[in-house]
């Protein structure tokens, strides 16, 4: 959604860029005794997360009088509109917080610095290759480059009402022994009784969630031919998760149909009231649950079910450096400090997400049983790069084709065959325009 609105203006960026150039975020050139000044655009918005960001920046500024960082708070909803303009005008912040799907476009437009040669060895080795894959894209001159440092990732878990879970008598899954999708569906059926549903799927924005879960059965939804062009595919692997969620809704009747049209956090009031027992969702929603749950309400975090594998598609939150930054080396130093293991643990805790730092993963703050951190953090090992991340035209496919098709399918208005046909045929028409 965020990218889509940016695309609205992207068409004229090329034109505008012709008149652009110059500028640069930093203000004071180094070497004249003045401190280097860097602008850091942060998108943190949760109370604890904003506090953690400010604290780390303050510590940096105290210990690095020669490189002073200004913390600028932006917002996820509008960041890409803001950046498109500021990149074109050459006044973008030096250090930019964003997420990996947004980087592909900015990288190929030449607005982001390729960090490959600048990454300190310690930072590079602390973050696993699967996370680096989420930020590796083709740059403006057609070469592969690393256009951001991935630092926070989201995985899917199931948040469950403990009382209803215990009463059903089903086996409680663990990160080492998660439910299979069959067991998950059985459990949902067992929890469905007396007006209570087993599960609720909030599918207002169904695409990313469906695609990330489809990896459980090896469903990638996209294939790249010998000519290098990507097309949509919906084969047996892709259909598995679609069919299973549909079955829960209409065959087993174990999923609450009322939640279908809801956004991520919308089902919580009904969840607290015990209208359904399990809510498959992203790890960050635990924050909302902790804050809003009525007194005495007990909940647990369960690992997502596994298919052939437990793999889930991941996107990352990232820190990048603007191509026009006058102080890229100092910006890299700041990023390396900002994302060291200790700080990543703080940031992950503040945003209720998972750190990419392998050292941070063992930090007691994010491995405690409290609020399901142990299960959430353990799910990080199942994250692989989301297959759609590198598909040119994915965002348009998602908004114009996949979102309406999946919404209609989950609402039982069209069959799986129809859905598959439209995803492929209409989807390929969209992708064709992006072929080079």
């Amino acid at each position: 959604m965020r990218i889509r609105s940016a695309l609205a203006v992207a068409a004229i960026v090329t034109l505008a860029a012709a008149c652009g150039g110059g500028g640069g975020g930093g203000e004071t050139p180094s070497g004249d005794g003045q401190p280097v000044k860097l602008d850091f655009l942060s998108l943190a918005w949760q109370k604890e997360s904003v506090a953690a960001n400010k604290e780390i920046v303050a510590e940096w500024n105290k210990s690095h009088p020669d490189i002073q960082v200004t913390y600028v708070q932006g917002s996820w909803d509008n960041v890409n509109d803001q950046l498109v303009t500021q990149f074109a005008g050459g006044t973008a912040p030096d250090v930019i917080h964003n997420d990996s799907p947004a980087l592909a476009g900015f990288a190929s437009d030449g607005y982001l610095l390729d960090l490959t040669a600048k990454l300190p060895a310690e930072l590079k080795s602390d973050i696993p290759q699967a996370a680096w894959d989420t930020v590796t894209f083709m740059g403006g001159e057609g070469e592969q480059g690393v256009y951001g440092v991935p630092f926070l990732q989201e995985s899917q878990v199931i948040i469950a009402n403990k009382k209803l879970l215990d009463a059903s008598g089903v086996r409680v899954p663990t990160p080492d022994n998660p439910w299979t999708w069959d067991e998950f569906s059985e459990a949902a059926k067992k929890m469905t009784k007396d007006g209570t549903y087993g599960v609720a799927w909030a599918m207002k924005s169904p695409v990313n969630r469906t695609l990330n879960l489809a990896l459980n059965f090896g469903g990638t939804f996209f294939q790249t031919g010998a000519d290098g062009n990507t097309t949509v595919k919906v084969g047996p692997e892709e259909r598995e998760v679609l069919q299973r969620i549909h079955d829960q809704l209409y065959k087993d009747k174990s999923a609450d149909p009322a939640a279908l049209g809801q956004g991520t956090a919308d089902p919580l009031p009904a969840f607290f009231q015990g209208k359904f027992a399990m809510l498959p969702t992203g790890v960050y929603l635990r924050q909302q649950v902790t804050e809003q749950a009525p007194d005495g309400f007990e909940w647990v975090t369960l690992p997502a079910p596994k298919g052939v594998t437990a793999e889930q598609g991941a996107v990352s939150q990232t820190l990048s450096i603007a191509q026009d930054s006058e102080h890229p080396d100092q910006a890299m130093q700041f990023i390396a400090y900002f994302l060291n293991a200790e700080n990543q643990a703080k940031l992950a805790k503040g945003d209720w997400l998972l750190p990419t730092s392998q050292k941070a993963e063992s930090d007691p703050a994010i491995t405690t049983k409290e609020n399901g951190w142990d299960v959430a953090t353990a799910s990080a090992k199942n994250l692989v790069v989301a297959p759609f991340l590198k598909v040119n035209g994915y965002d348009e496919w998602r908004s114009k084709v996949a979102t309406p098709v999946l919404q209609e399918y989950y609402a039982n208005k069209i069959s799986l065959d129809d859905a598959a046909k439209r995803l492929v045929e209409e989807g390929n028409q969209v992708l064709e325009r992006y072929h080079r």
Partner: protein, 272 residues
């Protein structure tokens, strides 16, 4: 008894208008738990000021509101100062030029802002007006001006030309007749235009977002958006508290100025 139905309709309309504000107030005073109830309550069970404390503790709302006030007052005053004489000329001197000017003003309204934001940004950058409040005022004036002009020329046209002619018969020159006859009659129109320009500028988000990068110059809408996260998830409590505070200056401004919004000044001015 015949008066009851109109009053009922009026009451329903007032409730309709007041609903969002009252709901904002109710939300601002609720705990996160109470916001997550399936049957929402109007009166918070355990009213709390924690949302206000969070909102004001985390963000410089007062500073942002002051900056927004400076921008909105300046741009509304400048808009009216520029558009008033232009509107008079457009309404009174009917010629091909004025007709083209009116058409051009209307055409300018159909361009989506987002299309021109980048070229405008480049111009402002070259003028060194990016990241400054005067720059934002200039942009707001530019974008409010066409509609303000359109509004005001409608008001000018509503002042009968005969009144000016009558003043001329009494020996008043054009300037004198404008100052003594037209200006007082235009006051309600000017007030309405001022309000329109003020509220447009007070609420404006997109230009502020791209032009203001330094935290020290950011306006209120940019500060409010910080309480929202991705995918429509927001910190509703602090957002409601901050939004409630953000509506107060416009309400005060409106309360002060609305006494001037009178109609009927010209009733019976010209008897045919």
């Amino acid at each position: 008894m015949r008066r009851v139905p109109p009053y009922l309709a009026l009451f329903a309309y007032v409730v309709f208008l007041a609903f969002p504000l009252l709901w904002l107030l109710s939300t601002a005073l609720k705990t996160p738990q109470e916001m997550a109830l399936t049957s929402p309550t109007w009166i918070p069970r355990e009213p709390t000021l924690a949302n206000f404390a969070d909102a004001f503790g985390e963000q410089d709302l007062v500073g942002a509101a002051l900056r927004s006030l400076v921008v909105a007052l300046s741009s509304s005053l400048i808009t009216v100062l520029i558009s008033l004489p232009a509107a008079y000329a457009m309404a009174r001197y009917r010629s091909l030029v004025s007709r083209i000017a009116v058409g051009w003003v209307l055409v300018s309204q159909v361009f989506p802002f987002i299309l021109i934001v980048i070229p405008l940004f480049l111009i402002m950058r070259d003028l060194e007006l990016v990241n400054t409040l005067p720059g934002l005022v200039a942009v707001h004036v530019t974008f409010t001006l066409p509609f303000a002009l359109w509004m005001l020329q409608g008001y000018v046209r509503a002042v009968p030309r005969e009144l000016e002619e009558a003043a001329a018969v009494d020996g008043a020159g054009r300037l004198r007749s404008i100052a003594s006859v037209v200006a007082p009659l235009l006051a309600p129109g000017v007030v309405a235009t001022l309000l329109f320009a003020f509220i447009s500028s007070w609420n404006e988000f997109l230009f502020a977002l791209v032009f203001l990068q330094d935290p020290d110059v950011m306006t209120l809408p940019l500060t409010l958006v910080r309480f929202t996260g991705p995918e429509g998830v927001a910190r509703l409590g602090p957002l409601a508290a901050a939004s409630l505070m953000a509506t107060i200056p416009s309400l005060i401004f409106f309360a002060i100025i609305q006494r001037r919004l009178k109609s009927g000044l010209m009733a019976g001015a010209v008897k045919g």
